[in-house]
Structures are given as structure tokens and as C-alpha cells.
């Protein structure tokens, strides 16, 4: 078994402009995903929007430089994540493929294998 991080990306404006019905549909789809994942689901969260983010980079002396906003300024922003455990990539693809963000045109998902230490 191996762990995979599923990163959910999308167009911030599309997400911000979605209607209450669309949000309800999305939440239902996520609950269905979580149920389908079952024991494979180790964790996950929706994230607050990128405007709430704070980034740190190397600064002068021993203090980091603190800036407002996400680390990468991109059109598609990170909206949430899940941590899954599965035997192989095909299992993760089959699960993550059910996420509503995969079907929507402006968003999608990245599957990143976790490097295990020790």
C-alpha cells in the first residue's frame, strides 16, 4: 500500500461565482467520494481561498520574508486536498476520477505519490 496526495485545483472565480445549488451538488459529490473511498481515505480538507494565504521565503538574517498570498501566482488555485492510501495508481485514479472537480471544465486534480521515510 502507498499514500497519495490528491490536490484539487480550479479557477477561483468559477468557484466564487457558483450558485448555492452548485455548491450543494459539489458537497454531495464529495460525500459520495468519501464514502466510496472508505478505508482508503486518510484525511482531507477544503482550503480557505488563496487570498487568505501567507507565504514565507528566505529573508535577511534569521527571519523569513513574510508575504501576503499563495506561494505560486497561478490562474488555477489549490482548493483542497485528500490523502489516500491505495495499492497502486489505477486504484487512486478510479477513486479521484469521481471527484466533481474532474468533470468540471475549469478544474482538475493532481495525484502525487507520497515519499515514505523510515
Amino acid at each position: 500500500m502507498a499514500k497519495y496526495l490528491v490536490l484539487i485545483y480550479g479557477d477561483e472565480k468559477e468557484w466564487a461565482n457558483s450558485s448555492p445549488q452548485e455548491r450543494e451538488q459539489t458537497e454531495r459529490a464529495h460525500r459520495a467520494f468519501q464514502s466510496a473511498a472508505g478505508a482508503a481515505l486518510l484525511g482531507g480538507n477544503e482550503l480557505q481561498p488563496p487570498a487568505t494565504a501567507t507565504s514565507l521565503r528566505a529573508g535577511s538574517a534569521s527571519r523569513p520574508t513574510v508575504t501576503d498570498g499563495p506561494f505560486l501566482e497561478t490562474k488555477e488555485v489549490l482548493g483542497g486536498y485528500y490523502l489516500l492510501e491505495a495499492a497502486d495508481l489505477d486504484e487512486v485514479i478510479a477513486l479521484a476520477g469521481q471527484l466533481p472537480e474532474v468533470a468540471a471544465s475549469h478544474s482538475g486534480v493532481e495525484i502525487r505519490p507520497v515519499r515514505e521515510h523510515g
Binding site: 500500500m1 502507498a2 495499492a87 497502486d88 495508481l89 489505477d90 485514479i93 495525484i111 505519490p113 515519499r115
Partner: protein, 385 residues
């Protein structure tokens, strides 16, 4: 044998080393005691045992335990392992160029240097590409298996695209001295045959094999005795491989029995119309144009449009052909495609518009890297100057 060893090791590099060791051992042993009755099975057993020995000695053995297929009940025939291996090499999580490189290296047995030459890159670049792909397979745990029935047809599609690409690259090499790279053509034919024997009910696979057989049937007539390109119009049809044409035609009939034709079957049907025409002049161009109409519905592509326009030019004359090519001049995907310029040049030449034809032949030359094709275009350019 490599594929069977991968099943044991789940590690492509180790499997390759063990396979090589097994061959080396075979050469030593068989020289003394003769070739065993089932050499394939003997080699597989030796390679697997060697792999098990290596793994037992490594401390990684215990950690890798969940990954290993230990004593599997009744190991599948070697062919099933090759099927698993080709689906792994052509997994959608790998980039197309990685899929092609792995397939050529691990299934067709080409050396890294040979694969590099086929795709016009440095050997070190190709070695890095193959290493990265193997690392991706290991790190992301791309599984070593034939896909489940509900994913199979989609995954077969990717495998067939790779096989087709290998064939096309070998049939007309994009650059270099020689028109044909026989190792790639034979590699692709071998893979298509393997896929057909293991997935006999799959119409798309049958269609691709039919297409490759029908095109390859012309291999002995594509070059003149002095190595010049011989067009389809001028090939000596008595020297086409009639046995291969018969096999291709029969497979084509089989592949058309399903609900809808696949794009390979339609391409094979076009090749079959050529194969059955006694001469270029007697070719049923209406049928070919009709088949291209079907093909463009299944596989909308500027290259299909180009080929259809050429066929249309044969049916309705060069003026009509030129008109059919006109919209393609704005097509960005064909901007560096030498065959578009060559097709225009040919129509212009036949219309007696020599200056325009010369310009088009020069354009085609600028976009063509294969020496044999360049020599042909240079000859045509000389005719219209």
C-alpha cells in the same frame, strides 16, 4: 522472458539484469549440454530464480515483500506477461514519448542507442527519458497488469497508437539515409500480432494488424534498384506480398463485423482498395474518397483531410485536388508538414503551373529530412524548373 521476470521482481531494471544473466548462462550451459526442449521456459526459470536470489540477499527484500508476487500458482504463459508489460509501458500516466521509448526498449528489444536514433535524440537523452519513465512507474506504483474489462478498450487504444507510431516511424523514417527502418517495422508487426493473438475478439486490434500487413505488403517495391523512391503509382504490383495481402484482407473482413468500424479498419480498407487494384489507373478512387469521408468522421485530423484531398484529386482531377487542399494551408498543425507542400506541388505540376510547382517543391524540400524523399523531391523540382 523479461516480462515474466518483471512479474517476480516488479522492478524493471533488476528484471533486465536477470534476463541478461539468464541469456549468458544459457550460452554457457547449452554449448555443453545442448538446447533444452523448451528454451523459453528454461530461460524464464533461470531468470526468475536469479531474481529471487538477488532479492533475498538485499535488505530491501523484506520491505518490498508486499510488492512481490511470490510463488504464483501456475504462472501464465509468457505471452500474458508480454501483454501485461505492454499495458504498463503504455499506461496513460506516462507521456507518449516515454510510452514509445519503453515499448521499443522492453518489448521490441531495441538498444537505447537504436531507440535514440529512431527518434532523432542523443543516446544520453533517450537513456534519461527511459530512466525517468521507470522511476515514475515505481514511484507512482503504476500496476503491472492487464486492465480490467471496463477500462480495457480505452487502454488498448493507447497501446495501438504507440504500435502505429512505431510502424509509421519505421515505414518512412523521418530523417536519415534510409527510407525504411526495418527493425521498427518488424517490431510493430510483432507487437500487433501478439496483441491480436491475445485479444482475438478485439476489432480495433484486428483492424490495426490488417492495416500494417496491407501497407507492409508493398515493402519490396518502394525503392528502385538504385535506391530511389518509387511512388505507389509506379510500384510493380506483381512484387507485392500476396500472402500478406490475403492475410490483411481476411483480418479486415473480421474487424468490420462489429457494430462500427474503427479508424484502423477504415485505414486498412483504403489500403485494401489499393492492394486489390491491378494498376494505379484502375484504382477505385470513388471508393477511396468515400472511405476517407468515413474516416474523417471517426478521426477528424488535418492529415486525414490532406490524404482525402489527394484521393479527390485522383478522382476529379488536379484542379479539384488543389481546391480541396486550399483550406489546409491555414492549418497550424500542417505548417511544417512537408507532405502538404509536396501534394500541392504535384497538383500544380500536373496543371502545368511550373513556377508555382517549383516554389511548392522547394517548400517541401525545406520541410523534409529524409534523404530518399529529398532526392525524389529534388528530381521533381528539376522537372519543373
Amino acid at each position: 522472458m523479461l516480462a515474466a521476470t518483471v512479474r517476480v521482481t516488479r522492478d524493471l531494471d533488476l528484471a533486465e539484469e536477470c534476463a541478461q544473466d539468464a541469456y549468458a548462462q544459457a550460452l554457457r550451459t547449452w554449448a555443453d549440454s545442448g538446447i533444452p526442449e523448451r528454451p523459453g521456459a528454461w530461460l524464464t526459470t533461470v531468470a526468475r530464480n536469479r531474481a529471487m536470489d538477488v532479492l533475498r540477499r538485499e535488505s530491501a527484500f523484506r520491505r518490498a515483500l508486499p510488492l512481490l508476487v511470490m510463488e504464483e500458482p501456475a504462472a501464465g504463459p509468457e505471452q500474458d506477461d508480454r501483454l501485461r508489460l505492454i499495458f504498463t509501458c503504455c499506461h496513460p500516466a506516462l507521456a507518449r514519448e516515454a510510452q514509445v521509448a519503453l515499448t521499443l526498449r522492453l518489448l521490441c528489444g531495441l538498444t537505447t542507442a537504436e531507440v535514440a536514433r529512431a527518434f532523432l535524440v542523443q543516446e544520453s537523452t533517450m537513456a534519461a527519458r527511459i530512466t525517468r519513465a521507470k522511476k515514475k512507474i515505481a514511484a507512482a506504483r503504476i500496476p503491472y497488469r492487464v486492465p480490467a474489462p471496463d477500462e480495457l478498450s480505452e487502454r488498448v487504444g493507447a497501446v495501438l497508437e504507440v504500435v502505429h507510431l512505431v510502424f509509421s516511424t519505421g515505414h518512412t523514417a523521418p530523417s536519415g539515409e534510409h527510407l525504411v527502418r526495418r527493425d521498427l517495422v518488424d517490431g510493430a508487426l510483432g507487437l500487433a500480432r501478439m496483441l491480436h493473438s491475445l485479444l482475438p475478439g478485439d476489432d480495433e486490434v484486428a483492424g490495426l494488424l490488417a492495416l500494417l500487413l496491407l501497407i507492409d505488403a508493398r515493402r519490396d517495391t518502394r525503392l528502385s534498384a538504385d535506391g530511389r523512391l518509387t511512388l505507389l503509382a509506379e510500384q510493380d504490383r506483381t512484387r507485392w506480398d500476396t500472402r500478406q495481402i490475403a492475410e490483411g484482407t481476411s483480418l479486415l473482413a473480421q474487424s468490420l463485423r462489429g457494430r462500427e468500424p474503427t479508424r484502423y479498419a477504415v485505414q486498412a480498407a483504403i489500403a485494401a482498395v489499393h492492394a486489390e487494384a491491378p494498376t494505379w489507373a484502375a484504382t477505385d478512387w470513388s471508393e477511396i474518397v468515400g472511405l476517407y469521408d468515413v474516416l474523417r468522421g471517426l478521426w477528424p485530423s488535418p492529415v486525414v483531410e490532406l490524404n482525402r484531398a489527394v484521393a479527390l484529386g485522383q478522382r476529379d482531377g488536379p484542379r479539384a485536388g488543389l481546391d480541396a487542399l486550399a483550406p489546409l494551408l491555414d492549418e497550424p498543425a500542417l505548417a511544417t508538414y512537408g507532405y502538404l507542400s509536396a501534394a500541392r506541388a504535384d497538383f500544380l505540376r500536373r496543371l502545368g503551373r511550373r513556377a508555382e510547382a517549383a516554389a511548392a517543391y522547394e517548400e517541401a524540400l525545406a520541410l523534409t529530412d529524409n534523404d530518399v524523399e529529398r532526392a525524389f523531391l529534388t528530381g521533381r523540382l528539376g522537372e519543373v524548373r
